[in-house]
Amino acid sequence: MSLNLGKTAQQIEGFAHSLKGAQNDRSRRLSEAVDAMRRAAPEEVRAKQSGPAAQRRFLYAVAGEGLGASHPPKSAPGNFCVLSVDGSHIDVDRHMPAACALVNIGGCVLRYGDDPDAYLYNEPSLYSDDRLYLTEQTPEGATEIPIEGAILGLMRTVEEVKALAPLIRDKAPADAPTLALLDGSLILWALAGQGYPELVRTEIIQRGLTPALDALREMSRRRVLALAAYVSLPRSREAANALRLHLCEFDSAECKRVCRPRRSPHSPCSMVNHLLDRELFEELLAPGQRSCLFSTNSSIVDEYGRGHRICFYYLHTGEEVARVEMPEWVALDKALLSLTHTLILDQTRRGMGYPVAISEAHEQAVIGGGDRRTFRELVDRSLVRRGMSISGSEKSRSKRMAWV
């Protein structure tokens, strides 16, 4: 049946009206919050963030300096290299005659300076049969978890990070400062609070991400190599929550009792309600500047291993405020930290507001609609050629046709 547009429109009107009121309140609070950020002295912030009083029900960024600090970019080196890897996948489709998934990893290496060059590639890999499952044999018995949906997405992210080291080794000149860029967050948020079995966390982190990061850190010791992840339009509130913690006049127990994770009913904490980090830094940062360095206190990264705690800063690219994440071993090296800042800014300038390397890696990795259909047909055809039935489920058909 068609949507009752009359009733819907009425409700939208009401919603828009209330939004307008909230908007006005929000603008006021934003400017107050920005002021508060600027006033937050580093010692006070640090003091509030240590000790048992720091235990809160919300995630907040751990700041090494004043919340409102800003840093201008350094000038870029003459010769440098930026590379990126991105991925795309076709998830397991139960309507297909056989269970399989496809992960396509695409990457690019861009060399700037005296000898500019570019290398683009992509590498698909099929997940089927045993590869479609995470398995573990424990004394208690065998465990088997299918790789699909969110887990496949996580596996893909791990594959992306894994792909960096060989790419750097083979295609990036060893004598040029190199920045390896990833699209999205280094923090595997999908693992948080999902109650995945231990096996999943082990496979994804201990056997996946951590070794990949180890390899990069190992390379970084022998050459100028920084790793960073670029989050465009970040919706995170960790810096805002850092301000909330800074402003909080209650003790930890009271806060835990009264405050909700997203919103606080109390003033002055409520000043931060609904504000995003990037909204704050749009006010605080001039184009080109980055914020102070934060580190996340997410429990997920606790499992990453030594030196791989994820740090981040916000960067005003001129077009937007993006979040740049990196492992601790990059963040703590002033030169590498500065390199990420400089080169990401350079990349966004070359890329009309978005890092070129990430765009190109994405273009290499992306599986378009046509390719998805072609993949399906390829699977069907291969099966038919071997005399197998390909009658898809009735559901698949009904989804594509509007029965009357």
Partner: protein, 194 residues
């Protein structure tokens, strides 16, 4: 390391009448009117259009040089362009090898996709270009401006041939027979050959 033996590129589209060749390197294409020897058994393809465009038809090319002083600078600061753009040749198939000799006319089969395209040796080009069938094929093709292509082709072949004047005469005669009822058109072509 360049493509082997002066290879131009590869066939990416092919039919009996025409084919498209993608050049291995951006902007490294033979000129309009040049002949390519494509595949094995060889088919002769006349380059009727040289184009450079985004490799991915879904990605429009945008202006990037507002702050750059030169075009070269645009390419230097965007090294990926070399890989995202490609130079393509649209070719008319004009001849093939029959009994070991190049003859003008359509081959029994088009070249395979990914067949290599090489520059056509001067003596083979000469044999083709001065053939009456060559002129007829071109003039009767559905090219938007066959005369331009003919002029480009003959000028080029004339420069490369051992006896350029002789070649132009033979080719000119072949054209004249085809265009004997269109003197102004014939004249316009011939004028540009001298």
């Amino acid at each position: 390391m360049g493509p082997a033996q002066g290879r131009i590129g590869e066939v990416v589209e092919a039919s009996s009448r025409r084919c498209a060749v993608q050049c291995y390197r951006l902007y490294e294409s033979p000129p309009l009117g040049a002949l390519a020897r494509v595949g094995d058994p060889p088919v002769y393809a006349l380059i009727t259009e040289v184009s450079t465009e985004a490799l991915d038809p879904g990605r429009p090319v945008i202006a990037r040089g507002e702050d750059a002083a030169t075009v070269e600078e645009v390419y230097r600061s965007n090294p990926q362009l070399d890989k995202l753009l490609c130079t393509r040749l649209r070719c008319l198939i004009v001849g093939h090898l029959r009994d070991g000799a190049p003859v003008a006319g359509l081959p029994p089969l088009p070249p395979k996709i990914h067949s290599f395209a090489h520059p056509c040796p001067a003596d083979e080009a000469e044999a083709l270009v001065s053939s009456p069938d060559f002129a007829r094929l071109l003039l009767n093709s559905d090219l938007p401006s066959p005369d331009e292509v003919i002029v480009a082709c003959l000028r080029l072949a004339g420069r490369q041939a051992a006896d350029g004047q002789g070649l132009l005469h033979r080719a000119g005669n072949a054209l004249a027979r085809e265009l004997s009822d269109q003197v102004p058109r014939l004249n316009a072509i011939l004028r540009r050959l001298t």
